[in-house]
C-alpha cells in the first residue's frame, strides 16, 4: 500500500496539522471537502503571504504621488493632469519551470488583468527572467519558451513590451524565474477598487468558461519546492488565450467608462475562491455563489473544482441589478460571456451553493485574515552558501576580458529577445528597449504634460553576496536607469523571489533584503505601491540566488529632451560621473564570475545619500537637455559601459583612466555614469563629473588598450545563438 493513501486530506493540500486545527476552531466544526479546498488555497503561501507579511510591513508605502498602495490588484501613482499610472510586478516562476511557453504567457495575462482590474488600460509590459547557464540545454529550452510565451500573449493583446532583463546563473538551473510587470493608465477618478459593496447587488463572472486547468495551482505549484517528476504537474499549468483576454479587456474598460460596475476583481491564483473572498473581505460583506450557474468547459466538474479552478481570462464584478441589461449589451458587443453567479449578502460569509444546496459556508474573515502569520527564524550562514561559478575565462588580459564580458550571456545585447516583442503598439514608445537605460513613454495623447520612464532591475548574484547591500543596489540601480532618461521616481513595485523561508539562511536573506530595500527607499522617498512574493524557489541543489526584482516608474517632464545610451557626435567630451568616495570592487562582479572567483560574503557598504545626490545630478542634467548621452555603469564596470555607449551610437571613443587595473576597468559598484556632450554641458555636474576622453573614430581606446567596434559588436551579438 502506498504511503500517500494514508495522508490526511489537509496535509495533501499543503496545510499543517495546527493550521487545520485552527480552521476547525474558526468554523466551529470540521470543514467539508469544498471548504477544505478553499481554505487550503486561501491559506497557502501564495495567497496568504504567511511567511512574508510581517516583513513587508517594513517597506515604505507613503509618498507624495501615491494614489493606491499595496492591497489592491495593482498600485497607482499620479502623473499629473488627473492621470494615474497603475503598475505591478508578479511572478509566474513555477508554472514556467513546468511549461515555459504557457507559464510565461499566462504570467503576462495575469498581470495585465491585475492592471485593468483597477480600471487602467494596460500600456506597457516588462519582464525579468532568470535561467541556468546558457550552456544548459534545459535553460535554452526554458528561455526560448518563456520569451515566445511572453511575446505571444503581449503581442497578440496589443500591449507594448518596452523592456526587461535576463540573467543566466547556475543557481536558477532547476528553478527559473519569470516575473512580468505591467503598467496601465487611467483617469484618477476612474480607478476602481475591488471591495464588493451593496447588499443584494449581483456578482457577475465575465470571460472564459471554467475548466479543470490550474486546479490546485496555488497550493501544489506555487507553494512547494520543485523536484523531479514535475511533468506530472503539467495539468496544473493554465493555458492562455490572449484573444479572449483582449475582448475581456476592452469590454471591462468600456463598462468602467459607462460607470456600470460597482467593483471589479480579476481571477488569478485560487480562482473564484480567492477573488470572491478578497472582494467580500474588503467590502465587509458576504457573498453567495451558485456554482451551478458558472459556465463550464467540461462536464461533471465538482463544486470544489469550480471554486478553485485557475482557468484564465476571467473577471468578477459586482453590479446593481438594474444595470445587468446594460452590462449584457456591452458584453454582447465584445462577445464576452457574462453570467450572474451570485449576490452580495450582509452575512460576511462566503457561501457556496450548488443550485439550492449549500455545499460550503465559511466566514470571510477566517479565509482572508485568520491564516496564521509566521515569524521567520533568520540566521546568517557561517560562510557563503553558494559555490563558486565555473571559470570560463582563462586570460586576465584587459583586451580579452572586455570581449569575454561583452559576449557573456549576462551582458551580451538583449536585442535578439527584444525583437520578439512589439515595443511600439500604443504609439507611446519614445525610447525603445536598448536605446536607453529605461523605456520612455509619451503620455501626451493621453492628456498628460509629459511622459514616464520605467525600468526593471535585480541582480541575484549581488544579493547572494550581500542580501542587504545587494538590495540597496537594486533600488539605486533602478533609480540610476531612470535618471539616464531624466526621470524622477514616483513609485516602485517589487517581486521578492527567494527560496524556502522556513530555512534559517533563506529567512536571513529575505529579512536582510527587505531591510536594505526599505532603507534605500526611505532615503529616496519612494513608496512601494504593491508587488508579489514568490518563495520556495528551490530544488534539490538548494535555493536560487535571492532575487528581489524592482520595477520603478518615474516622471519625465519633457520626453523630447531625453538622451539615449549611445555616443552621438565626434568631439563630444566623455565624462565619468560618480560620487568621489564611491567604492568600486571586482568582488561579486561579472568579471569575477567569468574568472570563477568565489562569491564574497559581503559587499562594500554604500553611502545611499551620496549616491542619490549623484543620481539626481545626472537626472537634472538630462532633464535640462544638456547631455548628448547618459548611461549607467553597471555589470562589467566602466569598460563595458563605454563599449555599450560606442556600439549604441555606432562611434568610437578614446579615454584615459587614472589606473588600468581590472578593478578600475571592470569593478562594479552603484552610482556611476558615463555621459557625453559638448564640454560645457558637463559644467553643471561640477566635481561629480570627471572628463575622461573624447568621442570619435572607429575604435574604443582605453589608455593603451584598444578594440575595434566591429570586434566588440561581434562579441555583443552572442545571444542571437540562443534563438536559432
Amino acid at each position: 500500500m502506498s504511503g500517500s493513501a494514508t495522508v490526511a486530506p489537509h496535509r495533501a493540500l499543503g496545510l499543517t496539522d495546527s493550521e487545520y486545527d485552527l480552521i476547525v476552531e474558526k468554523m466551529g466544526r470540521a470543514p467539508n471537502g469544498v471548504e477544505l479546498a478553499v481554505f487550503s488555497l486561501m491559506w497557502s503561501e501564495h495567497c496568504a503571504y504567511k511567511h512574508s507579511k510581517k516583513l513587508l510591513g517594513r517597506l515604505p508605502t507613503e509618498g507624495p504621488h501615491l494614489l493606491m498602495g499595496p492591497g489592491e490588484n495593482a498600485g497607482a501613482v499620479s502623473v499629473g493632469n488627473g492621470l494615474a499610472i497603475a503598475f505591478k510586478v508578479e511572478s509566474h516562476n513555477h508554472p514556467s519551470a513546468v511549461e515555459p511557453f504557457q507559464g510565461a504567457a499566462t504570467g503576462v495575462g495575469g498581470i495585465l488583468r491585475d492592471v485593468f482590474a483597477v480600471g487602467a488600460r494596460p500600456i506597457a509590459v516588462l519582464d525579468s527572467l532568470r535561467f541556468g547557464e546558457l550552456e544548459s540545454a534545459r535553460s535554452r529550452y526554458l528561455l526560448d519558451g518563456a520569451v515566445a510565451g511572453i511575446g505571444h500573449y503581449g503581442n497578440s493583446i496589443g500591449v507594448a513590451n518596452v523592456g526587461g532583463e535576463v540573467y543566466f546563473e547556475d543557481a536558477y538551473e532547476q528553478n527559473c524565474l519569470v516575473n512580468a510587470m505591467c503598467l496601465g493608465i487611467a483617469q484618477e477618478e476612474r480607478l476602481i477598487r475591488s471591495a464588493a459593496a451593496g447588499v443584494g447587488n449581483l456578482l457577475v463572472l465575465m470571460g472564459a468558461r471554467t475548466g479543470r486547468d490550474g486546479i490546485g495551482g496555488a497550493s501544489v505549484l506555487a507553494s512547494a519546492e520543485l523536484d523531479a517528476g514535475d511533468d506530472s504537474k503539467r495539468p496544473s499549468v493554465q493555458i492562455g488565450d490572449p484573444f479572449e483576454e483582449k475582448r475581456l479587456l476592452e469590454c471591462c474598460l468600456e463598462l468602467l467608462d459607462r460607470g456600470t460596475l460597482a467593483s471589479l476583481q480579476d481571477l488569478g491564483a485560487a480562482g473564484l475562491s480567492s477573488s470572491a473572498a478578497e472582494m467580500a473581505s474588503k467590502g465587509e460583506v458576504g457573498l453567495d455563489i451558485d456554482v451551478s450557474r458558472v459556465p463550464l468547459r467540461e462536464e461533471g466538474m465538482e463544486p470544489f473544482e469550480i471554486m478553485v479552478s485557475e482557468s484564465q481570462e476571467r473577471m468578477l464584478c459586482v453590479i446593481e441589478p438594474e444595470r445587468l441589461a446594460d452590462l449584457e449589451e456591452v458584453c454582447g458587443r465584445w462577445e464576452v460571456r457574462a453570467t450572474a453567479i451570485g449576490e452580495v449578502s450582509a452575512s460576511r460569509r462566503l457561501r457556496v451553493l450548488d443550485g439550492a444546496e449549500v455545499v460550503g459556508d465559511m466566514p470571510v474573515e477566517a479565509l482572508v485574515d485568520d491564516c496564521p502569520l509566521y515569524d521567520l527564524e533568520p540566521q546568517a550562514p557561517a560562510e557563503q552558501i553558494y559555490p563558486a561559478p565555473a571559470r570560463t575565462l582563462e586570460s586576465e588580459d584587459p583586451h580579452d576580458a572586455l570581449l569575454a564580458l561583452m559576449g557573456s550571456a549576462n551582458l551580451a545585447s538583449r536585442v535578439p529577445l527584444f525583437e520578439q516583442y512589439d515595443c511600439l503598439v500604443g504609439s507611446r514608445t519614445v525610447r525603445r528597449p536598448a536605446q536607453a537605460d529605461a523605456a520612455v513613454l509619451d503620455l501626451a495623447a493621453d492628456g498628460a504634460e509629459g511622459g514616464i520612464a520605467v525600468a526593471i532591475d535585480g541582480n541575484g548574484r549581488r544579493v547572494a553576496c550581500d542580501p542587504y547591500t545587494g538590495s540597496v543596489e537594486a533600488v539605486l540601480e533602478c533609480a540610476a536607469n531612470l535618471a539616464c532618461v531624466g526621470a524622477e521616481p514616483l513609485g516602485l513595485t517589487n517581486c521578492l523571489n527567494f527560496g524556502n523561508p522556513e530555512k534559517p539562511h533563506v529567512a536571513w536573506q529575505l529579512e536582510r533584503s527587505v531591510a536594505g530595500m526599505a532603507d534605500a527607499l526611505g532615503e529616496l522617498g519612494v513608496p512601494v505601491v504593491g508587488g508579489n512574493v514568490s518563495l520556495y524557489n528551490e530544488s534539490g541543489e538548494g535555493p536560487i540566488y535571492p532575487t528581489p526584482v524592482v520595477g520603478m516608474v518615474g516622471a519625465v517632464p519633457d520626453v523630447g529632451r531625453v538622451s539615449g545610451t549611445g555616443f552621438v557626435s565626434e568631439g563630444h567630451t566623455v565624462a565619468l560621473v560618480r560620487a568621489p568616495e564611491a567604492t568600486v570592487s571586482r568582488d561579486g562582479s561579472e568579471l569575477a564570475k567569468l574568472l570563477g572567483e568565489e562569491l564574497p560574503a559581503g559587499l562594500p557598504e554604500i553611502d545611499v545619500a551620496a549616491t542619490w545626490r549623484v543620481i539626481e545630478a545626472v537626472r537634472d542634467a538630462v532633464r535640462e537637455g544638456r547631455l548628448a548621452s547618459a548611461h549607467d555603469v553597471a555589470e562589467g564596470g566602466v569598460a563595458v559601459a563605454l563599449a555599450e555607449c560606442c556600439l549604441a551610437g555606432g562611434i568610437g571613443a578614446a579615454v584615459s583612466l587614472p589606473q588600468l587595473g581590472s578593478d578600475q576597468l571592470f569593478g562594479e559598484g552603484v552610482g556611476r555614469f558615463v555621459v557625453s556632450g559638448p564640454v560645457e554641458s558637463l559644467e553643471p555636474l561640477g566635481d561629480l563629473a570627471a572628463a575622461i576622453g573624447t568621442v570619435g573614430g572607429e575604435r574604443l581606446e582605453i589608455g593603451e588598450c584598444s578594440w575595434a567596434l566591429d570586434e566588440l559588436r561581434e562579441a555583443f551579438g552572442a545571444l542571437a545563438l540562443a534563438f536559432p
Binding site: A148, G151, H152, N155, S156, I157, G158, D241, P242, F243, E244, K246, R247, E250, R333, W334, E335, F418, E419, Q420, Y421, D422, C423, L424, V425, G426, S427, V430, D442, A445, V559, G560, F723
Partner: protein, 231 residues
C-alpha cells in the same frame, strides 16, 4: 476627406492608425459588425490579430460584415490600405494577390527597416519623394510575402509591386524583397511595415507620413475632378 479605420475584435494598432490618420485628415473607427462605412473616403485595415488570427492569419476577418462593405467600396474604386494584419486580411479576401506566410525565422520580429518605394504613381505613394528609402518598423510573425513566379512577373509588369525592403533589410524572407503590393487598379494596397508608427519625430522617423499624405492628395484630386465634371 475622411479615413475610416476598421476595428475587429483582436485589432491592436487601430488607435495608432486612427491617430496617424488624424494628423492628415478626419478619421473615425469602423466597427467590424457594421456593413456601413459611414461615407469614409479611405478605409484602413489596421494591424493586430483579428479574431485571434485563429485558423490562419486574416482568414476569419474576411467573413466579417464590414468586409462586405469594404469590398463594395474597393470595387467602386475607393481606396483601401491594409497594414500588417490588414494586408493579410486583404489577401485572404482576394482583394490583393499573393499570401503572407510565417516569417522564415518562424519568430515574431519587431525591427526598424528601410523600404524602397518602387512605384510612386499610385494613390498611396504619390507624395513620397523620388528615390526615397523609408525607415518604417515591421512587427509580425507572418509577413513573408509569397506569390507564384507567373503572378509576380504579371504584378511587376503592371506596377503592382509598390514597396521593397532595401538590400539587407528583408526581415522575413519575402519573395523579391516585397514589402507592399497593390491590386491591378492601384486602389487597394497592403504592406507589412507600419507607417502609423513612423509619423512623429518622437517615433524616430516620420517617413510613414507620405503614405497618408498621398491618400489625402488623391482623394482631394478625385473630388476636384468630380466637381469639375459637374461644373
Amino acid at each position: 476627406m475622411k479615413f475610416g479605420v476598421v476595428r475587429f475584435p483582436g485589432s491592436c494598432d487601430e488607435v495608432d492608425a486612427l491617430m496617424a490618420c488624424r494628423r492628415f485628415a478626419d478619421a473615425r473607427l469602423l466597427w467590424h459588425g457594421d456593413r456601413d462605412l459611414d461615407g469614409v473616403d479611405v478605409v484602413v485595415i489596421p494591424g493586430g490579430f483579428s479574431y485571434g488570427d485563429y485558423l490562419r492569419v486574416g482568414a476569419i476577418a474576411r467573413f466579417s460584415p464590414v468586409m462586405a462593405a469594404v469590398k463594395e467600396h474597393a470595387l467602386a474604386g475607393g481606396a483601401v490600405l491594409g497594414i500588417c494584419n490588414g494586408f493579410q486580411v486583404l489577401c485572404e479576401a482576394g482583394l490583393l494577390p499573393g499570401a503572407l506566410l510565417p516569417n522564415s525565422g518562424l519568430r515574431f520580429l519587431c525591427r526598424q527597416v528601410d523600404v524602397e518605394v518602387v512605384n510612386r504613381d499610385t494613390p498611396f505613394t504619390r507624395a513620397c519623394a523620388g528615390g526615397d528609402t523609408l525607415s518604417i518598423p515591421v512587427k509580425h510573425t507572418s509577413g513573408r510575402y509569397y506569390a507564384p513566379e507567373e503572378a509576380l512577373s504579371d504584378m511587376d509588369a503592371h506596377g503592382q509591386i509598390i514597396l521593397r525592403y532595401a538590400p539587407g533589410h528583408n526581415p522575413n524572407g519575402s519573395v523579391s524583397d516585397i514589402a507592399g503590393v497593390a491590386n491591378r487598379d492601384k486602389n487597394v494596397m497592403g504592406l507589412m511595415p507600419h507607417p502609423e508608427h513612423a509619423v512623429d519625430t518622437l517615433d524616430g522617423s516620420t517617413d510613414g507620413g507620405c503614405l497618408f499624405e498621398s491618400l489625402v492628395e488623391h482623394v482631394e484630386e478625385m473630388a476636384e475632378r468630380v466637381a469639375g465634371a459637374h461644373a
